[in-house]
Amino acid sequence: MRGSFIIIGFFIVGCVMGLYHLLPFSLEELPISTYVLYALMFCVGITLGHDTTIFKQLRTLNPRLALLPLMTMVGTFLGSIVAVLFLRSITVTDSLAVGSGFAYYSLSSIFIADFKGVELGTIGLLANVMREIFTLLFAPLVAKYFGPLAAISIGGATTFDTTLPIITQSVGKEYAVVSMFHGCLLDFSVPFLVTLFCTI
């Protein structure tokens, strides 16, 4: 839990520095986060390759785990439909478009803003940023009460990259492959589903 507070602390410090223009560089001109993400992925790759027992564990994995991305989609859609009951100005397809971001906030918010305007785009950004941060903070807790699959499911499309280290730390390296498969599939689905829900 201490680690989670440190993570949220860094996010808040980043917000404040961005808000008051205290950064020595412009984030729009320099795609720093992309390079940092690559560094993260490289390190995750090293830990996966370094552990020679992973490939043995992979063979013992249950093939039914391949259903997990579908479960994440169905669960997210159901939740997004239920959410409309609590919101006045949001339609079902708007909510589904936001939900279909699956925590992939950068891409989904750009798509949504393009089709539906900045307001829904911002909602998409915020909802999906929240989903990613929630996963970074609470994956261990969700794993404890609802099993390892739930910890992967909440991460949506990010279980392929940014949330992969947290997930493997909280449910074990043997789930790294499931997590990557899950993230990869949802990652691909984001542009299609968001476009679909924005246009129907």
Binding site: G18, A39, L48, V74, E119, T122, S153
Partner: protein
């Protein structure tokens, strides 16, 4: 997408080659990189005036959708987990 794949694959190959050595500093390095990423995400949010201005009203809608979507995901993946556990117990 494919670049990320290539980067992970490169890491896996290097990790395999170095499997004789103890690489205990890597998990710590990963933690630090996650901090940097979250800092950058915060900076991105903070330096976008549209997002900052709409934070309260739009944030409420975003929060409701986020909570429901995550709850739905947890429910469905939990059901799959219970199903898989019952099937493996039978075998």
């Amino acid at each position: 997408m494919f670049q990320i794949f290539a980067v992970i694959l490169g890491g896996i190959v290097l990790g395999r080659l170095l499997s004789r050595y103890k690489l205990s500093f890597i998990p710590r390095l990963i933690t630090v990189i996650v901090w940097v990423l979250l800092f950058l995400l915060g900076a991105e949010v903070g330096s976008n005036p549209e997002v900052v201005r709409g934070m309260l009203t739009l944030g409420r809608s975003a929060f409701v959708i986020f909570v429901c979507a995550v709850a739905g995901s947890i429910l469905m993946s939990w059901l799959l987990w219970l199903y898989i556990k019952s099937k493996t117990a039978q075998q």
